[in-house]
Structure formats: structure tokens, C-alpha cells
Subunit: 190 residues, 2 copies
């Protein structure tokens, strides 16, 4: 940020009176331009038949992490709820028809000022297809998950939690709600 | 937003190529200025002695809702996790020493582009005092809660869920994780 979005004069990075953090402050109209973390919303789209569980992943057609696999997810927009955003991203990136379940994971990625959240979801049919931001969309059993080709640490963690819960469900457990802080950067991560 | 924060030229509200929503786009350098929902983080600070449960509330010394009661909460900042933000706001607004518990509620307030989250917290001592943004800080039993003088619908909903869970805990239940969409505006709400 170099200029004030209200009056076009230069901004300066300074601690405003009564505050304790540096902010971009307009040298002319004194507007303080706050910057806050963003939410990334997605789903774990599940297809379950004959005791076999498959999860839908998308291969990214955009940077960062072009060519790597991800759960369908993206930035939450104004005028939508977290559930709206998760459903929209699943439709946009995977063309998938889902029934949304409960919120499954909330992951803090503070070094990039983001909070990632994933809802459980059930695929209603197999009529999915890659959207503009995906090269491919495919279903994977646990043993087929391309663990070394996942796009982001939050995808890795969410899938780990998901399959751990599934294992516990064989002994009568149920899905939990998982919160975790992601500190490890991934190969090629900024 | 009137001017581009990168080059100071005017912005126009338009749907960028390949997008499907109106954004502020710079007429000169073509930067797209995205606007996303913000997170508000807070706690439910609990003091429990001799079977009596009290919750700490702050009386707001700032607009909106000056003079109304709230759980300690505020906007999450860059470079912090949701838990960091909840703890910081509790310290800033109530001067309270807490041990943070699990995330208790996530509430979508889409008409103001916000997501509110509240963590359970245990007060470590009674050394609390109003911060700059509070007129008063006080503990309330369920029957003492000033239901008609609460600042925001999300505070109302979170306290309702909290005391409902407490009632269920008498029959062997435990705290749940609650997600809800807030659509009803409160008196005087914009």
C-alpha cells in the first residue's frame, strides 16, 4: 500500500495515537488503513460406497503450487457465510454437487495472514469436472492420496485428521472438530 | 474506495475478466482490489466456584453500541492466530488473566461481512479491570445477565449456547462447538 484509497495522497507506516501497531496512515486525511487476515474456505468431498471411502481432490491450474493437488477451497467473499463460500468453491473448482456437513477443521496460517476452514461434504453424484482453476479432478482412497504432491500444509493436515477420524469411527467414534496452527512451510512455499 | 492504493489513480467498480463479481479495479495499473470478510475474535471468560458459574462481560466505552455489554472481542490482526487474537482482546478490554480453552462458537454475520468466533476461557484470578475500550467489567451469573442490554446478536447467541450447554452438562453432557448464521439485526444495528 502506497497511497490512500480515500484521497490519493501518500500513506505512511506509523503507530496511530492510542494504537500499538504500525498501520498505513494517510498523511493528508488521516484515514487509518487496517489490514486483517483473510479466510480460505473449502470442503472435504466424500464418496462412500461398499465400505470404501474416497475423497475428491483438484489439481491446481493456477499459481501458487500449479500442478499440485488440493481440496477445493478459496478466499471467502463479502456477502456470504463460511458455508456459502465452501459450497461455492467446491462448485467452481470441481463442478461437484455436494451436501454440506459440519465444519471439520480450522487451521491458522499466521505467517501468510490466513485462516483456512474445511467443511465435511458428501458427493451427491459423480458428475464433477475441473473448473477454470483446476487441471483435473479425481477421487482418491486413503492409500491413493498423493501425499508428496499436495499443494499446501493445511490440505495435508486436514486429510490426516480426516483419515484418523475415519479410523476411529471403526471403533464407534465420530468426526471431531479440529483446530491447529500451521507453522511448517512447505517446499516452495513463500 | 475511490483511488488505487498502488498508483493513486481512480478505481472503478467493475467485473474483471474471468471473474463474476464487481471489484474495485484501477483504471491505470489494472490492480484488482479485493475486499474480504473480517474475523472478530473473543472469549467467554468463566469463573466457577462452589457450583456457581459466572461469566465476565465488558460494558462498551466505544461506538457502536456504547454503554452496552459484550464479551471481550475485537478484530483479529495480521501475524496472530485466532487464539492469540481472542487472548489479546480479553487482556486489552478486560485486563483479565485467562487460560484459553477450545473454540466454542463460530457465527456468520454476513450482512456486515464478519465472522465472529468465541473461545471458552477460565479466569485465573479476579484481577481484572476495564481497558480503554470498556466502561466497566463485571461477572454475571446466568440470571444476572443483562439480556436486553447486550451489544450484539452474536453475544446473545453465544451466551445462550453457553448456558444451554451448562444445563446439559448437569446430565453428563459436555461443551459443544456451535456454528450459526446471524440474520436478525438488533435494535439500533446498521
Amino acid at each position: 500500500m502506497k497511497y490512500c484509497s480515500e484521497c490519493a495522497n501518500p500513506v505512511e507506516l506509523m503507530v496511530p495515537a492510542g494504537d500499538n501497531r504500525p498501520r498505513y496512515v494517510c498523511t493528508h486525511c488521516a484515514t487509518v488503513h487496517y489490514q486483517n487476515p483473510k479466510m480460505v474456505l473449502g470442503t472435504i468431498p466424500v464418496w462412500e460406497r461398499d465400505g470404501e471411502v474416497r475423497v475428491l481432490l483438484c489439481r491446481r491450474a493456477i499459481e501458487p503450487r500449479y500442478g499440485y493437488w488440493t481440496l477445493p477451497a478459496g478466499f471467502m467473499e463479502n456477502n456470504e457465510t463460511t458455508a456459502d463460500a465452501a459450497e461455492r468453491e467446491t462448485q467452481e473448482e470441481a463442478g461437484a454437487n455436494i451436501t454440506l456437513g459440519p465444519l471439520f477443521a480450522l487451521l491458522n496460517v499466521k505467517h501468510v495472514h490466513q485462516v483456512h476452514m474445511f467443511y465435511l461434504a458428501t458427493l451427491r453424484d459423480l458428475d464433477f469436472a475441473p473448473g477454470e482453476e483446476s487441471l483435473d479432478v479425481k477421487m482418491f482412497t486413503e492409500s491413493e492420496i498423493p501425499w508428496d504432491e499436495l499443494a499446501f500444509p493445511t490440505i495435508h493436515t486436514t486429510l490426516e485428521c480426516f483419515f484418523a477420524d475415519r479410523a476411529r469411527m471403526l471403533e464407534g467414534g465420530s468426526y471431531g472438530f479440529h483446530t491447529q496452527d500451521i507453522t511448517r512451510p512447505m517446499r516452495g512455499d513463500s
